[in-house]
């Protein structure tokens, strides 16, 4: 496979913090419209990988290329977000004083400059889009509640909703089901599969049952590089993976 066919292409990415290599020559290729699960023990570099893709952390060496032509290592977070890469954090981060509705409104794709937002009026198109997303993330009845008053699971969904509102081509989702009940977890798997119909998704997760439920290609990270890649059955039978997960 060449760079040209891919949505996201990481090659030999290395990141060190004070001599500790969080990412060690990591290479990863993601195709347009693909859903990928990334697993790995604590400290494997999952979150750092997200940081590198979204511009929060600059790699020491290596290439990060988006849609074959754009070098993400040269851009900052807002510029990368504008290219269509959305990110959901491990701990749900929504705008707590704002209502669910306003949270989605602020996330909607559109002009991000102060000179626009000072005069912006809610349009019919925006309202329609917000209604749609409220439906998708099952928060229709919660629209008027403050983000800070939602339950943990509802915050997770609101944040996924905000991601959808951005209309990204690629979603990076960090541990979406941490702290969720079983039924919430199942609904989230549904939701992600739904989203994946139109967009590429990378899910970082600890929960093996959830990864199995997603039923997608899995990348196992260990000590900052790829240990194994393939279907969930393939990687869970890989002796290297078994050693890392069970050997310690």
């Amino acid at each position: 496979m060449t760079e040209a066919d891919t949505l996201l292409y990481l090659d030999g990415v290395t990141v060190s913090f004070d001599g500790f290599r969080a990412l060690n020559a990591l290479s990863l290729v993601l195709e347009e419209g693909e859903m990928r699960a990334v697993i790995g023990p604590n400290g494997a570099g999952k979150t750092t990988m997200m940081d590198v893709i979204t511009g929060k952390t600059r790699p020491d060496t290596g290439k990060v290329v988006y849609q074959a032509g754009t070098d993400l290592t040269k851009l900052d977070e807002p510029a990368i977000a504008a290219l269509g890469i959305g990110r959901k954090f491990q701990k749900p981060t929504v705008f707590e004083p704002h209502t669910v509705w306003d949270n989605l409104l602020l996330a909607l794709a559109g002009d991000r400059r102060p000179r626009f937002s000072l005069w912006a009026k809610e349009t019919r198109a925006e309202r329609g889009r917000i209604e749609e997303i409220l439906e998708t993330v099952r928060l229709v009845d919660q629209r008027g509640r403050r983000g800070g008053d939602l339950s943990h699971g509802q915050k997770q969904w609101l944040e996924i909703g905000m991601l959808l509102a951005q209309e990204p081509r690629l979603l990076l989702v960090d541990e979406p089901v941490a702290g969720m009940t079983d039924s919430e977890t199942e609904q989230t798997a549904h939701l992600l599969r739904d989203i994946n119909r139109t967009r590429a998704v990378v899910v970082v997760e600890h929960d093996m049952a959830f990864v199995r439920a997603l039923g997608v290609k899995v990348t196992v990270l260990h000590e900052g590089s790829v240990l194994s890649e393939g279907s969930i059955d393939h990687v869970s039978e890989d002796p290297k993976v078994i050693e890392v997960y069970l050997g310690r």
């Binding site: 604590n42 494997a44 750092t48 929060k56 977070e77 954090f89 602020l106 991000r112 403050r146």
Partner: protein, 371 residues
């Protein structure tokens, strides 16, 4: 949040109160029981200018999350611009009778007016400078600070350093702003005698008008979509970046607007107190402005105005009754409000159903371990 009802009430009280005081001063005989003496007019006018400074502080602190410890610098710069105009109006009525040079320059043996004093004899130019000088300083300072992502206590210390640097600079005689003594002995403003009761009454009403105007502008900004984004930046700055917003440009806009409001407040303050000197740059003034906002209720705008009025009336009473205890009282007030009334006086109203804008900022999750 900042409801229509509360806003209307604020404007009616500020503007109505100022007009009423001015009328009672102008049209009642001095012996009358309802006559308002000139010193009260000057005092209230001064407080309304302080309220503008408080409003400016609340905009950046309550909504932008930037704790400014040097905002009096913008207030003082606006004041100096107005002071320079007033100095140029003195003309030959100065002690030395020099038509061109203010007294302090003659005293220092200067022969020519420094280049930066030219134009200030013309009111529209001076008025423009009242807005531009604080605005441009805020623009440069804010651009550098926000672009470098300086936040929190580091940013607060930098604002404090800014006002302290200006304090030291304006103390120097060769800066050409009257050094230690500042600018004073004003005679008239736009042809009206600054000492006259009628001018003072007019300035009081003008201050009320500008305060209400600044309040309406600030209210428009914080209730707009811009304001919602600003609050989002205040609470979870990095989240807004991943949504594609540039927090630095949002902070910069509100920072410059705030500096301009403070500058206009300073410009109205100077003719009413009759002097502007480097003491106005002192860090203590800026900290006091923060206390006004904390007392009134941060992030409510109305609270800033209320806090400035309450604390300053308190100060006036206290400094005449128990002058040596005022600073202790101010400190105690700040601690007391922080502990007992985290949402200030406006928080008391909130108990009765008016919801304040401020909610405790959530802990920022993504700033945790990098891996």
């Amino acid at each position: 949040m900042i409801s229509q009802r509360v806003s209307t009430l604020t404007i009616v009280l500020v503007l109505g109160g100022a007009i009423l005081l001015a009328l009672l001063n102008q049209f009642t005989p001095e012996a009358s029981a309802v006559h308002v003496p000139a010193y009260v007019i000057a005092l209230v006018g001064k407080y309304l200018c302080f309220a503008m400074l408080a409003l400016a502080v609340d905009l950046v602190w309550g909504f932008g999350g930037i704790l400014p410890l040097g905002h009096a610098a913008f207030f003082a710069l606006g004041g100096y611009a107005m002071g320079m105009y007033l100095m140029r109006q003195i003309g030959t009525r100065g002690v030395y009778g020099n038509a061109e040079l203010p007294d302090f320059m003659v005293f220092l043996g200067w022969k020519d007016l420094p280049w930066y004093w030219h134009g200030f004899e013309w009111f529209p130019f001076a008025a423009l400078m009242v807005v531009l000088v604080p605005g441009i300083l805020a623009l440069v300072f804010g651009y550098l600070a926000f672009r470098s992502r300086v936040t929190g206590v580091y940013l607060s210390i930098m604002t404090q350093a800014l006002t302290y640097a200006l304090l030291l600079a304006f103390f120097r005689n060769d800066m050409g702003f009257g050094g230690n003594n500042g600018l004073t002995d004003f005679k008239d403003v736009l042809g009206f005698n600054v000492q006259a009761d009628s001018t003072r009454s007019g300035l009081l009403v003008l201050s009320a008008l500008f305060l209400c105007g600044a309040f309406l502008v600030a209210r428009f900004v914080v209730l707009s979509r811009f304001g919602k984004i600003l609050i989002a930046v205040r609470d979870t700055e990095s989240r807004t970046r991943f949504l594609g917003y540039r927090p630095e440009s949002y902070k910069l806009v509100v920072w410059v607007l705030s500096a301009v409001i403070a500058g206009i407040g300073g410009a109205l303050y100077v003719p009413q107190v009759g002097i502007i000197n480097p003491g106005e740059f002192s860090p203590a003034n800026s900290i006091e402005a923060v206390i006004w906002v904390a007392v009134g209720g941060r992030g409510t705008l109305v609270g800033a105005i209320l806090g400035a009025l309450i604390v300053n009336f308190g100060k006036t009473w206290f400094t005449s009754a128990l002058p040596e205890l005022w600073l202790f009282a101010l400190g105690a007030l700040f601690i007391g409000v922080t502990l007992l009334l985290p949402q200030g006086v406006m928080g008391l109203f909130a108990l009765r159903g008016v919801k304040p804008a401020v909610t405790p900022a959530p802990t920022i999750s993504e700033e945790e371990a990098p891996v």
